[in-house]
């Protein structure tokens, strides 16, 4: 896993992944007490950065392997990213989802052309189901974060951040990234190491689910105590990945743990000031920048808004409470 893989991913994604802009508002600068630049990956295809890694993973496969099809486990953003990428290549995609996943996410994944296989969380073993299908049909597994070509794809976000910030004359900044398994965070950190060495990447996680922040502090991987109970479900993972953590340990600054209410408040601020829709998990980095600024050092903070797949009732609640 190195910068050359990320640059190769950038070439593969050209004309496919959207080069999301860098947004800003003087009103957000005022709240934060520093310059705030926002990279809205909610505007990416399928509404999250996950399309980058999925598309790159499929593009990097040899054609015969890809033609047999791909399989992924996901109840959310990764599922849609893999489904769209597979459809673009005209190859089958099987997505293994829990039967109690939101109906809209199941419907969206199917509408993108994927075959959705549902399993019962209580009585069935997801990995067993996936392994059986993969073997039987010769499907290639696309992991959500702990896979080099997925990390490389997500890292293209960092190449764009470095280039777009340089256009604005910004070379020193803290870069806050919503962090689940660490694919996006480690990819951006590797890209910035090469192209924007004056920037320091820092992960943002939901309070109570800050496995990466605690792992960075401990110097080794530690796990979350539980996996449910956060509105930021899209970025709750058991622990940072075996591949992603060493890069984060080497390159990243201390993490942020953001309460759910701050994520909702940041969603309302992004609505009012940037006119973008962010999901709770995608809003933790912006929330850290706006409401946890005491832990920041740089004059400029760049935040990734990693996804926007939030149901209407929850978004309306954020607006009602904090808009």
């Amino acid at each position: 896993m190195n910068i050359d893989m990320i640059r190769a991913a950038g070439r593969r994604l050209e004309g496919h992944a959207r080069r999301t802009p860098l947004l800003a508002s003087p009103f957000l600068d005022e709240i934060a007490g520093r310059r705030v630049l926002v990279k809205p990956e909610c505007l990416q295809h399928t509404g999250s950065f996950k399309y980058r890694g999925a598309r790159n993973a499929l593009a990097a496969m040899d054609a015969a392997t890809r033609a047999r099809g791909v399989i992924a486990f996901s109840s959310g953003n990764h599922a849609q990213g893999v489904a769209l990428a597979a459809r673009e290549f005209g190859v089958p995609a099987v997505i293994v989802m829990p039967a109690d996943a939101p109906a809209l996410k199941i419907a969206n994944t199917r509408a993108l052309g994927a075959e959705v296989v549902l399993y019962d969380r209580a009585s069935e073993d997801r990995d067993e189901i996936g392994a059986r299908l993969a073997t039987k049909r010769g499907l290639m597994l696309v992991k959500p974060f702990d896979e080099p070509e997925v990390i490389a794809g997500q890292g293209t976000t960092g190449l764009e951040i470095a280039a777009q910030a340089a256009e604005l004359g910004v070379h020193e900044a803290e870069v806050l990234v919503p962090c689940g398994g660490g694919g996006l965070t480690s990819g951006i950190a590797l890209a910035c190491e090469a192209d924007a060495p004056g920037m320091r990447v820092r992960p943002a996680e939901p309070a109570g689910f800050d496995d990466t922040a605690r792992s960075l502090a401990a110097g080794h991987i530690v796990a979350n105590d539980r996996l449910t109970g956060s509105l930021c479900d899209a970025i709750v993972t058991p622990s940072p990945g075996q591949l992603t953590f060493p890069h984060m340990a080497r390159l990243c600054g201390p993490g942020f743990a953001v309460p759910d209410d701050d994520a909702l408040r940041a969603m309302a601020a992004a609505f009012t000031r940037l006119k973008i829709v962010i999901e709770p998990g995608g809003a933790v980095a912006l929330a850290a920048a706006l409401y946890h600024g005491a832990a920041l050092e740089a004059d400029t903070v760049i935040v990734v808004a990693s996804g926007g797949n939030v149901d209407a009732p929850l978004f309306a609640e954020a607006l009602t409470r904090f808009g």
Copy 2:
């Protein structure tokens, strides 16, 4: 007013106006039954395309005139565009607003550095107040649409549409534009005439306030019967402009009249599928593309989402009813 002025505006706005992307979603294509491309000017500085025209008008002034300051009448998006442009040039801006304008819009305009002069709609004459201030202080009036450099600035949206569509291989399309006084619509029509002659621009307006559609049908300027009672207040004007209408009459196809509920429905669709925030007046073109497709002819429709300055309660209502 010609294409050279729009190209000059494009050069003046470089590095200032945001080059908004062209967004798309397979789910919107399915609703519309054709390809839908969305130009989200809600992501423009100050949340609407108005910044383009304001910035260009100020940039095109001779420096001595500009230094004395500018004045504008507006309760909304034009106010914020002029205020930001004036602040960037370091010159005074006076915005004359009705005293009953939404408090947030007054506060935002002030926060952007403008001096807000309030007047009572019932008892005071806005034009008289403005003329007195302009004379006394030597301020230059920046009109909201019937001014060549404002039209030229808005027209840069059309230069970008032509270039971005060409990158996607799209050369023939209907281009639907939310239309108030016609600055944006005529500017885009002039830009497309030069750079995308296979495209036809068509205005979209609120039902009951479709002065431009009726004027195009009549072949001369006709006025609205009333000016209140639409959720799409940002694009309700008495009639198309003296400068804008001849361009629209020469270049534009028939207009669309969109009921408020369709605008709200389009706002909810943009929330779910594009992750952007559009105000009702900014959503009428998308609503026409999605729900009035019988009147469309081209395989591809490009819609401008012209602004996103909507209050949280109304947006929450759109999500609750149509999300």
